[in-house]
């Protein structure tokens, strides 16, 4: 998986591309930690538009991201969830935990 980070108006946007699974752990964590650490970032959005697949480990990583956001009082949301990604998030009822844009 590739992660591209865009900063705009206090928002860090993590654009993920490819399979988001247990092999993405380090890359994803590094990306969101850097995003939170960047100056002026008030919220983090994970853009799932180009994610082909999401496994349960990826859901665990999203939970870690959510905890990090909570501890820093910076909201985290998921955007462009469609197809398989939306199905996986729906089955896990992650709409109860995340703001899905």
């Amino acid at each position: 998986m590739n992660v591209n980070v865009n900063h705009q108006n206090g928002q860090a946007r993590l654009e993920l591309r490819g399979r988001f699974d247990f092999t993405s752990h380090r890359e994803f964590k590094q990306a969101y930690e850097a995003a939170f650490a960047a100056s002026g970032v008030a919220e983090v959005v994970v853009d799932m538009r180009d994610v082909d697949y999401l496994d349960s480990s990826a859901l665990g990583m999203l939970l870690l991201l959510r905890d990090k956001g909570k501890s820093l009082a910076k909201p985290v949301s998921l955007s462009n969830c469609a197809g398989t990604v939306r199905d996986v998030l729906r089955v896990a009822n992650f709409d109860k935990l995340f703001n899905l844009q």
Partner: protein
């Protein structure tokens, strides 16, 4: 300018003394060569060339047995005139089962003096290098030093290789032991009643999926299908405490809400954060004629009738277990009437996400087609085979679980009359149990394990008697619902009646508290019957308790 390394000087990393098997005729040049090699500190094992042993053993076999006995680092062969016998011996050495590659150097006539065919024959037999005669001791010394360095490196690798092999074997042994323990801890008992069929295929050596089925004291059947985050050993360790807690609580008779809350609590308490577990819990109560399902994070559970029509679905309504606190979790299951012709299919996401050789997922539609297209008796195999065919030998990326529950088989199992001997035996002793409890607490109280525990102490035999316990539990529920709460049992017969009834029960319990009822008194009386009257009689009353003090 620094010193230039020639590579010919002594090298601390090189092997100093090699063991050399030297084969040649006892003539001056060969003997002088042997003396030179010994002078360099090498150990020599010498044998005459082309000579069979006195006992008639052929020359090649003599060389092979010398090689096997001494395990040299190098073989030097002075081929001399008997080249063919030398080639045969070299070929025999190369056929030996030795993980090392031991160089074979041949001394002989000047290579220029050998025909291409002769050289090819020697190389073909397994020779590595040729030295023309007379042999240059300087060149030979340099080559030996080079070989020493090479062998030192090779030994390093082979030590590492041995260490890796030992590590691998130890790891395999531990995996075998761990699997044995896990299988034992969460063993799914073969089900002779034919109610449950299950298939779990791990993606790797351990499965993060588990299926646990337990019968409660009242005879209801409780099933857990759990899928821990990830797969392999870490995921298997996640589901282990969950499965064990489920087993123990279901055996005690706890209902699904208590099970859901406790499993969630166990995961949050015992596992690293974000090691959540998708879980479906099912309770089939043939006595009450109902089925309850709680699905948190697993694919939709479906029920099909005898004709293959989908009659019920239980999609995931909740977060997987272990993510939020139990107080934030809605632990109430979805209740439906138990249909005698229904079969329930439960499965983990690994089943529908399994990819074929072209990267296409099996998918829910294909799974449902296989399920609904088969006769009831063949459904389990049909779904399994459709999935196996889809994979066509490909590994399934994630753990796969399929469970099929046959409601008809469960109803038939329940219909078999059970001996009430224990009931009669209890008639010999009378007892009474009085419980005083806050009305607010009664709403979230699971009475089954309390009765089970008490009965187990009074008479262990009775506590194990499913029919007797079911009768007691039914009597308790009737006292509560028809007596104290004044619920009309006919509500259950309406369409969707079970859900309405459950909601009404909850509301009336709330009304009780809101209406100022403080404490309730639950009394269970066991009365001795007249001889020949058929056993003991139980009476259960639940009423408002007189104010304390």
């Amino acid at each position: 300018m620094g010193a230039v390394e020639t590579g010919l000087g002594p090298d601390p990393a090189a092997l100093a003394g090699l063991k050399i098997l030297a084969i040649g005729d006892a003539e001056p040049q060969f003997l002088s060569l042997c003396a030179h090699l010994r002078g360099l500190g090498h150990e020599l094992v010498c044998a005459p060339h082309g000579v069979d042993a006195p006992d008639g053993t052929a020359f090649a076999s003599v060389i092979v047995s010398l090689y096997a006995r001494h395990r040299p680092d190098l073989v030097i062969f002075d081929l001399g005139q008997a080249a063919a016998a030398g080639h045969a011996a070299i070929a025999a050495l190369r056929r030996m089962d030795d993980v090392r590659w031991v160089p074979v150097w041949c001394l002989g006539l000047h290579p220029a003096g050998l025909s291409e065919a002769e050289l090819a024959a020697a190389v073909g037999a397994g020779a590595d290098a040729f030295f023309p005669r007379p042999v240059s001791h300087v060149m030979l010394t340099a080559r030996l030093a080079h070989l020493g360095r090479y062998l030192a490196r090779q030994r390093q690798f082979s030590t590492r290789d041995r260490e890796l092999q030992a590590y691998y074997e130890a790891a395999e042994e531990e995996i075998r032991a761990a699997r044995g323990i896990m299988d034992k801890l969460l063993r799914l008992q073969p089900d002779p009643s034919g109610v449950l069929r299950a298939w779990i295929a791990p993606a790797v050596k351990f499965s993060g999926d588990t299926v646990v089925a337990e019968r409660s004291p009242d005879g209801s059947l409780k099933i857990l299908v759990a899928d821990g985050v990830g797969h392999g050993l870490a995921a298997a360790l996640n589901v282990l405490p969950v499965g064990r807690a489920f087993q123990s609580m279901a055996q005690k008779g706890f209902g699904l809400p208590a099970l859901v809350s406790e499993l969630n609590h166990v995961i949050r308490r015992d596992l690293p954060s974000h090691r959540f577990v998708a879980a479906t819990l099912v309770n089939i109560d043939a006595g009450e004629g109902l089925i309850e399902v709680w699905n948190g994070g697993n694919p939709t559970c479906v029920a099909v009738d005898s004709l293959g029509g989908v009659v019920e679905v239980w999609p995931s309504q909740h977060l997987p277990l272990g993510i939020v606190d139990s107080s934030e979790l809605d632990a109430q299951p979805e209740r439906r009437s138990l249909r005698p012709d229904a079969q329930l299919l439960l499965y983990s996401d690994g089943a529908i996400e399994a990819l074929d050789a072209h990267g296409a997922a099996f998918g829910e539609p294909a799974l449902l087609r296989a399920l609904t297209g088969a006769a009831p008796a063949e459904r389990f195999e049909a779904v399994k085979m459709a999935l196996v065919d889809h994979l066509a030998g490909q590994p399934a990326g994630d753990d796969v679980t399929l469970v099929l529950l046959d409601c008809g088989a469960e109803i038939r199992r329940r219909a078999v009359p059970r001996p009430a001997a224990a009931m009669a035996a209890l008639g010999e002793s009378q007892w009474q149990l009085d419980l005083r409890i806050g009305a607010a607490r009664l709403a979230c109280l699971d009475m089954a394990p309390i009765l089970q525990e008490f009965l187990g102490r009074v008479d262990p035999q009775w506590a194990r008697d499913e029919a007797a316990f079911a009768a007691l539990y039914t009597a308790y529920n009737e006292a509560l619902e028809y007596g104290l709460l004044d619920l009309d049992p006919r509500i259950k017969e309406q369409p969707d009646g079970l859900t309405i009834y459950a909601r009404e029960r909850e509301l009336r319990l709330q009304d009780l508290v809101a209406g100022g009822v403080q404490d309730l008194c639950i009394s269970v009386d066991c009365l001795e019957q007249a001889p020949g009257a058929g056993g003991a009689q139980l009476r259960i009353r639940i009423e408002e308790a007189a104010p304390a003090g």
